[in-house]
């Protein structure tokens, strides 16, 4: 029983990070109809910037803020410079451009920061809380992870629901032409959307890195998990992305916790889940439309 609780808690914590990452993908998909496969590399880049600051003696919090800000700038630059020319073109071209970014940024990280495994610190302890006689798998760090993701989501909800900029962003995602006619600077809104998504992605990257080893390709699995979570939720729905992330986190945690040598199977399990979802409910668990043809 205790083992089950621990596996579940681990799954929920990891699931929160997948949710955040899936949310970043969904933000971009909603505004530009592009799946940003470079999200993982971009997040890895900001994580390495944070790591460099920490190694230079700065506090975790300074590094966190700088990393998120550099994520903002990176997202905006990427949208303006390389995504804008292929927006609205054949969808294959946009996919290939984001894949190119994915490889290029990952290689650039390896050139600048080296490809060695480096440990990434956490701001809080990794020792589980004591409940009665047992130590459970909920650590101060996982509380921080969950809180950080929840606060970010709340901020996004506030932004999109209650501010003029949020309204403008929703309008330009919903109908570019109409929004443009009504005086919304659609181009700027798309840039802002990419920048915000990059911030959320960077946060996910920093959170998953905490207490683990980072290397240039450490986000490769996370981009898959984020994509699977986003597809579980239907790619269009932020709530779906969050629920999808949690479901995936739990599922993968059970696979690695209950299958012998299951940790080698986590990526395969994600693949199987994705295949089942795409075959049975291609529109995601919460989709109202059944087919995607355009």
């Amino acid at each position: 029983m205790q083992y089950f609780v621990n596996v579940t808690l681990t799954g929920l914590t990891e699931g929160m990070v997948y949710s955040a990452f899936a949310l970043a993908l969904v933000l971009i998909w909603r505004s530009t109809r592009i799946v940003n496969f470079a999200q993982g590399s971009m997040a890895a880049a900001t994580t390495f910037i944070a790591l460099a600051l920490i190694q230079a003696g700065q506090s975790y919090w300074v590094a966190l803020v700088v990393a998120l800000l550099s994520g903002l700038v990176l997202g905006a630059i990427v949208e303006r410079v390389v995504i804008r020319p292929v927006e609205g073109g054949p969808e294959l071209n946009a996919v290939i451009v984001t894949l190119g970014l994915f490889v290029a940024i990952q290689a650039a990280i390896a050139i600048v920061f080296g490809s060695a495994f480096q440990s990434f610190p956490t701001p809080f302890g990794l020792e589980g809380f004591q409940v009665g006689d047992n130590r459970i798998a909920l650590t101060p760090n996982s509380v921080w992870v969950i809180a950080a993701v929840l606060v970010t989501m709340a901020l996004l909800v506030v932004l999109f629901r209650f501010t003029r900029i949020g309204l403008a962003m929703r309008a330009s995602a919903f109908g570019q032409e109409v929004a443009r006619l009504l005086g919304v600077r659609v181009g700027r809104m798309l840039t802002l959307g990419w920048a915000l998504a990059a911030v959320v992605g960077s946060l996910a990257g920093l959170l998953i890195a905490g207490g683990e080893f980072v290397y240039p390709a450490y986000m490769d699995s996370l981009i898959v998990f984020g994509f699977v979570a986003a597809v579980l939720g239907g790619l269009d729905s932020p709530i779906g992305a969050i629920v999808g992330g949690l479901i995936l986190g739990l599922a993968l945690s059970y696979v690695s916790g209950y299958v012998e040598r299951g940790s080698a199977l986590v990526n395969v399990a994600a693949l199987v889940i994705l295949m089942i979802v795409l075959l049975v409910r291609p529109g995601g668990l919460f989709a109202s439309s059944t087919a995607r043809r355009a």
Partner: protein, 392 residues
């Protein structure tokens, strides 16, 4: 939402449409090296029948391959062996992506299937004859490809990319899970079979060079490459190729014409997976190792780079792109070392260049090298033929 979707519905937009035009004449391009000024005169020199024309090209290419392998040193021989398996996989991928509009990031994983199958069969005490083993690699990879293809046929664009990405990241995990059979992280050593006597006498008759094992593997790769490209070129020019293009360019029209979209997409994936399986088999023989580290996501993306820069849908483009994959890394690594980067850093310059090339090619020349050149050529032809009647 509908407003947003409208731009993406243009599947037959500039990029893919030009790729289609480019692919139309892919096989003839290989022979067009004979400087013929006009298209009409070029036709008269070549046989009318597509099959005969392709056989002629095959013969010329085979002679060219022998000459190339005999005049180059052993190191270049081994580089050319590498080129063959890249080119086989890229040829399969260009058929899938260029002809049928399906993207796959999972071809590295399908190559892994072929490579592990080959390694397993060769590790038997009395291994089967090599052609049978390679055939087995093709069959197993085809089976996996059919499985993925059935799922993929219902997907498009980013969904397909994501699903095949999951394949590329997930499948190598199986090799680690079944480490008793498949060797885990270390992978499986491959005992490449020795060259047959016929080969040694052939080499001594042709050039008198020593028939080393490296040379034998390069020849083996070249034979597989030629056969694959011959079959693919015929397929592209056949009814099947035309149906694939119809499915790619006009889904609705194709469906109205009685084409079962899903079945044809699966077929494209299966053909493509077969090529990837053969490529994996050749890779296992040339590298003499099948290990998860050999089939990373970067391999799949490198293949994508090869077909994008060569021109989607063009076999010649796939070959040129593969040559780039082989000869570019040593070049940029040297360059990086010259700039004072250490070895591991310089080794990362090649993937960096792949990524930049993908981005730049997609923004400025989505038709690739072959496609862009052919478009220039066709435009000039059209202008000239438009000018002639007014003069006459």
């Amino acid at each position: 939402m509908s407003d947003l979707q409208s731009p993406t519905t243009g599947k037959n937009g500039a990029g893919t449409a030009t790729a289609g035009k480019a692919s139309e004449e892919a096989p003839t391009e290989a022979t067009a090296g004979a400087d013929e000024p006009t298209a009409t005169r070029r036709r008269s020199l070549l046989p009318q029948s597509t099959l005969l024309r392709h056989l002629l090209v095959l013969l010329i290419a085979a002679v060219g391959a022998v000459v190339l392998l005999e005049i180059t040193d052993p190191f270049t021989n081994s580089q050319l062996a590498t080129l063959t398996y890249y080119a086989i996989a890229a040829g399969g991928l260009t058929v899938l992506t260029g002809m049928n509009g399906q993207i796959s990031l999972g071809h590295g994983a399908l190559m892994a299937v072929g490579a592990y199958t080959t390694a397993l069969f060769l590790s038997a005490d009395e291994p089967l004859p090599l052609p049978l083993i390679l055939l087995a690699a093709i069959v197993v990879a085809t089976a996996v490809g059919a499985l993925v293809g059935v799922a993929a046929a219902r997907l498009h664009g980013p969904y397909l990319a994501g699903a095949t990405l999951a394949l590329a990241v997930g499948l190598p995990g199986l090799a680690i899970y079944f480490h008793d059979v498949l060797g885990g992280e270390q992978g499986m050593r491959v005992r490449a079979p020795r060259a047959p006597e016929v080969f040694e006498s052939f080499i001594s008759a042709v050039s008198g060079n020593s028939a080393t094992n490296t040379k034998w593997l390069a020849y083996l790769g070249a034979i597989c490459l030629l056969i694959t490209y011959f079959l693919l070129a015929n397929l592209i020019r056949s009814r099947i190729g035309r149906t694939w293009r119809a499915v790619r360019d006009q889904e609705v029209a194709a469906e109205l014409a009685g084409i079962n979209l899903g079945a044809w997409r699966v077929l494209a994936f299966v053909v493509s997976a077969a090529a990837a399986g053969l490529a994996g088999g050749v890779l296992a023989l040339v590298v003499r190792l099948a290990a998860p580290s050999g089939f990373t996501l970067v391999l799949s993306l490198a293949l994508l780079t090869a077909i994008v820069i060569g021109g989607l849908g063009s076999l010649l483009g796939a070959l040129l792109g593969s040559a780039l994959l082989v000869f570019l890394p040593p070049f940029v690594t040297d360059l990086g070392a010259g700039w004072g980067l250490d070895n591991t850093e310089a080794a990362q310059l090649a993937p960096f260049v792949y990524g930049v090339v993908l981005i730049v090619a997609m923004i400025f020349a989505p038709a690739g090298v072959v496609g862009t050149l052919r478009m220039r050529w066709l435009t000039r032809q059209a202008k000239r033929s438009a000018a002639q009647p007014s003069r006459g």
